[in-house]
């Protein structure tokens, strides 16, 4: 009789192979309602596992209010509040629609979304563009006039220009680009300067040949060059496209999703498909932008960006981005230790994404919930910090809560009860 451990190990290798085989290509940036299956004028997507309006943190509520006003579904904040709590809108996780979103993750019908196709498997994934250098915006949980105006600009100028540029260039292979960015010192979550530079370089010759005014192009380039982090949301869509084909492999205990909504952190594991397993969203170890803020001002961990850790980037590979560690006052030795930890709880490595200073070892890939629990060490998630009332106030890192991994392990065991696993 086969030991269940052999079945699990084989299944986990298969998941690692599927993740590794992913060929994400950034192919477009189009209006959400036109491209995301199931999206309607009354759908607003949010980050993390499912959560009702009443339990949402304030930044997420603010982002939804902003989206309602931006979409013209209400004419003032009071009306927007009534609509949000009325049950007449579909409020759902981005993940449920094949998408991901940064911080609050707010995605509504008229917003542009990056489209990434996993060419190896044919599936698509989506993510709203990063809002740039501003500490405000729906993603950061604000809904002031500036946030709404910026969302309109992204809809009217940024999205169409990026989309036309991507058509002209014929798509950008994100598997290759991420691999190069890692070699240039990105961990591709908190630090995306290399990836943003590479993307801009790919796009630039095509953008300048488009039939658009110099003013529009100038604003697009100003935006792209104003924030090193622009590439993150393309990378997130790439990661989202990679995890889908790795789901539903029987017996696998590898994590295929990690996401937070500011109240709960949730994971999915391959063998259990799209079931969520949650624990409390954790406090973020934050470097605040101003001494006026402290941990008491911060929202707990929030956003779908931890999809990048799910595919071996970000907090799993500080060794590849010592400057990221240094930004938090850490040392290279600490960066190495964190990455060694990740190797210990992962089922394999990504053969195409390698870390030069680890003798070109592939990045750790395939977080195995069994190993996480056995080690007592959960993955590190690089992140930004939102004020409890909205607005970006810092950057930092958080640990995933072990409760989510325990819940997933219990559910896994229950699903294999017939094999007489002793619980």
């Amino acid at each position: 009789m086969t030991d269940i451990r052999d079945n699990i190990d084989r299944a986990n290798q298969k998941v690692v192979e599927r993740l590794c085989a992913g060929q994400p290509v950034w192919i477009g940036c189009k209006t959400a309602v036109d491209v995301i299956p199931g999206m309607t004028r009354h759908t607003i997507l949010h980050a993390g596992p499912p959560i009702e309006w009443e339990r949402m943190c304030q930044p997420m509520r603010n982002g939804i209010l902003g989206a309602i006003l931006y979409e013209g579904l209400a004419s003032n904040v009071d009306e927007a509040n009534s609509l949000a709590s009325s049950g007449r809108l579909t409020l759902a996780p981005c993940h449920q629609y094949g998408a991901v979103g940064g911080m609050t993750g707010i995605t509504s019908a008229s917003m542009p979304v990056h489209i990434v196709r996993n060419e190896a498997f044919g599936n698509l994934a989506y993510c709203v563009p990063h809002e740039g250098a501003s500490p405000t915006g729906f993603g950061w949980g604000t809904y002031d006039e500036g946030s709404i105006r910026h969302a309109r600009w992204m809809q009217e100028e940024l999205g169409p220009v990026l989309d036309a540029g991507l058509r002209a260039v014929g798509g950008i292979n994100m598997r290759q680009l991420i691999g190069r960015a890692i070699q240039m010192g990105d961990e591709d979550h908190g630090r995306c300067g290399a990836a943003t530079t590479l993307l801009t370089r790919e796009l630039a010759p095509h953008l300048v040949r488009l039939d658009v005014s110099k003013d529009v192009l100038g604003r697009v380039f100003d935006f792209l060059l104003s924030a090193d982090i622009f590439a993150l949301h393309v990378i997130m869509a790439a990661a989202r496209s990679m995890v889908e084909p790795a789901k539903k492999i029987p017996y696998s205990t590898v994590v295929t999703t990690m996401a937070r909504n500011g109240v709960e952190f949730g994971i999915k594991i391959s063998s259990l498909g799209d079931q969520w397993f949650t624990g409390p969203a954790q406090p973020i170890k934050t470097v605040f932008f101003s001494p006026e803020w402290t941990a008491a001002d911060a929202t707990p961990d929030i956003g779908d960006s931890s999809i990048v850790e799910t595919v071996g980037l970000g907090g799993l590979i500080h060794a590849a981005a010592p400057a990221q560690e240094a930004a938090f006052g850490g040392t290279y030795a600490e960066a190495l230790r964190k990455t060694e930890e990740a190797y210990a709880f992962c089922a394999g490595v990504h053969e195409a994404w390698t870390i030069p200073n680890l003798d070109f070892r592939g990045v750790p890939l395939g977080i195995d919930i069994r190993k996480v629990l056995k080690m007592g060490v959960t993955p590190i998630l690089d992140t930004a910090t939102a004020h409890k009332d909205g607005g970006k106030i810092g950057i930092g890192e958080a640990r995933a809560p072990r409760e989510a991994f325990e819940a997933a392990l219990r559910a896994f065991a229950n699903s294999h009860e017939a094999e007489s696993i002793d619980a």
Binding site: R337, K374, F412
Partner: protein
């Protein structure tokens, strides 16, 4: 036994190259390195307590 212990400490004090193994608390590591002493660091912390049912499951599944 006493002689062996004595000669071991003598070798540590007088040997050309000293290597210190630092287990657990990491604060000692930096000060030893600053003194030019090679340090082998063993990351160690007391094992975290797992819920009993989870610990039992891990025994069967890992």
């Amino acid at each position: 036994m006493a002689d062996e212990a004595h000669s071991l400490s003598g070798a540590l004090l007088l040997g050309e190259k000293k290597v210190v193994v630092n287990m657990g608390v990491e604060v000692f590591e930096d000060s030893l390195r600053r003194q030019g002493i090679e340090v082998v660091v063993v990351r160690w912390q007391p094992p975290r307590e797992l819920p009993q049912d989870v610990a039992r499951l891990l025994d069967r599944l890992l």
